[in-house]
Symmetry: C2
Subunit: 228 residues, 2 copies
Amino acid sequence: MSTRIVELRAKVMKQNDLLARALRERFETAGIIVVSLVSSPGSGKTAFLEKILGGLAPDFRVAALVGDLATENDAARLKRATANVRQITTGTICHLDAQMIEAALEGWQLDSLDFLFIENVGNLVCPSSYDLGEELRFVLLSATEGEDKPLKYPTIFNSSDVAVITKMDMAEAAEFDVAAARRNIESVRPRMQIYEVSAKTGSGMQDVFQLLRNKLAHSPEDRLASSN
Amino acid sequence: MSTRIVELRAKVMKQNDLLARALRERFETAGIIVVSLVSSPGSGKTAFLEKILGGLAPDFRVAALVGDLATENDAARLKRATANVRQITTGTICHLDAQMIEAALEGWQLDSLDFLFIENVGNLVCPSSYDLGEELRFVLLSATEGEDKPLKYPTIFNSSDVAVITKMDMAEAAEFDVAAARRNIESVRPRMQIYEVSAKTGSGMQDVFQLLRNKLAHSPEDRLASSN
């Protein structure tokens, strides 16, 4: 890439970072936990998120933004779990950015929500450098796509907070070596929390719910409320 | 994106197209069939390519270039099938481009080869707009990643010549609806050739070998040779 492209790119990234910081402050003020999901296309982000929304919806106020180049399929699917779903279609852009999130939130009362989930475009490269103002970034890796993905896409694992191995019900059929996958994640991002789940059977999902509930219990607003 | 970024991007694309055209002429002159593979990360490009190289190697002179952000794992794996393998590591770039291909070919006698395979970085977005000078572009879609990928990533299907549904041995376990996948491919790219394969069991691979053999039999150089 030419120097000019690199410079312009740096400027775009800087603008995104500023906007993401403003979003993060809004989320904190509203006491909402924002979690984004990144993965390859077809790793099961939407199935996982559908389970998460369904599991949290009875007790918490949840919402989701979902990014895709084209189609509103995922939003339609997630609306089975909660009415608060908006699709962001990005056209040819391979990631969401902070500006898209800000625009998609318009009209939503953030302080009437507990959790907002942001499902990024399926891509293991582009989303890694765009901060969306989220508190937690989950990177998903399915048992059918191989153990080596953390080594091949280190940046996305490095920019994420939690790793979720999905489709564990298919691990045996896919001859997936879960110990090797864990070693590879650990080598790229030491001490990263790793969850093994199956959205289909529900296995492992309770641990994820627990993580999310703990986050909410320890959010700044709740700490403030409990000290008053 | 700002106008300046779009303009600079157009310039980069134009340079790539010129270089790709020169590569295509070199490949045609050398009488070599060049096939590139694109897919999500973990769709089974390397397993598929390993089978292809192994199947063609006894009768044809084959070579492969393989792109990844990081690691030389895939090249090491493919070297079990042929010695003519080179890894291209792209760092943070989510696709190969014509210049990377040209550089990687240095020192290889193209006219001593029948087939060159180029495995792109695992990504369903970025590779679509970069011509690599290939004669055929295969887009792979695994039975474990869902039927909707053609609808969600129409550009990569539109810029490819052949669709290959991989991991068909797992279709049943994944509850993969192959008819729906075929309809989705057809709706995005009417009359696209579709192959259903399993690199693991070998099912469907003979049809792919046949396609490649036919291509070589009808390449310009062979037509020239047979008319002399």
